[in-house]
Symmetry: C3
Subunit: 128 residues, 3 copies
């Protein structure tokens, strides 16, 4: 099974809880490995808690982790920092599907990280 | 195939080699993608060497990477740092199963990272 | 399907675009989850843009992220830094295969990171 949906981000750096959208995609699937995937080089996916404070902390954390200036790619396009974050975080998040549901812990949500928004972002969901 | 086991961690920050437990789970499986998964938002999984020195280095490295203080989530629950580490590391580790065995290099072990222990941690193993 | 190829790196720290090699491996596969995997504890895989400037930025970024000195593992083998980078980045990169092709965005390439070269590196490709 492969499905796709789109998310419109609204800020230059934003984290968006996409768990419900992924859950809709896997309806009718009983068991398998679910891969959520963004075909983008300045976005990424993480799995973690999502409430406004920790969401804001994740954005701040990635800002601290990757300095804005001093990158060679910035002479081509001024978004090296977004590529470095995306490379580190990765474009995929995986979890089991069991008994027709995503296996997620109490505090786990699937979170799209846009490091270079606002943009339209594609999210691909595949279960095998 | 989906199986589950539990690990009791004993420290606030701890890395545990769970390779043998995962190997037991995949007995009888000939070939596939093996996903090891922890349904937790303050733990994670890595694949790397495991001996006491590098184990201790990994704990120290994550401490350096994520400052303890200054996070908004800490007004709710004083473990933002553990969430940020978990989000970065991720709750899954994957490797091939081939000829009935996990495909791991000489120095690769599957390592559970508890960033907010001691706790009982669930580990889910799925092969497809 | 499981296949393997080798890459000879030429520098102590190097990033190599292996997308075309992976594409060759998946010929004849129509749909599935593709896992690219390196059975090594001082290398890793990322998915991101690949042009000379950002390639050099990734090498510099990992150097900044992980200090060279101060690790206990260095009394055994002077490459703790390479293990820490490899543990953080991870040995796997995944993407969908759909209609016989790797689902990669315009700027996404599959990149092998050697943190302790030059070496011969094995790359395993499995689709399920």
């Amino acid at each position: 099974m492969i499905k796709e949906f789109r998310i419109r981000t609204t800020k230059s750096r934003e984290v968006v809880d996409i768990t419900n959208r992924v859950s809709e995609c896997i309806k009718g699937v009983k068991e398998g490995i679910c891969m959520v995937y963004v075909p983008h080089a300045t976005a990424g996916l993480i799995i973690n808690e999502f409430e406004p404070n920790i969401a804001s902390d994740f954005v701040a954390f990635f800002e601290k982790l990757v300095p804005k200036a001093g990158w060679k790619h910035n002479v081509i396009d001024d978004n090296a920092e977004a590529h470095l974050k995306s490379g580190l975080v990765g474009p995929h998040a995986l979890m089991p599907v069991s008994e027709g549901r995503l296996v997620l812990g109490t505090w786990q949500r699937i979170i799209l990280c846009d490091f270079d928004g606002p943009r339209d972002r594609r999210v691909v969901v595949m279960v095998r």
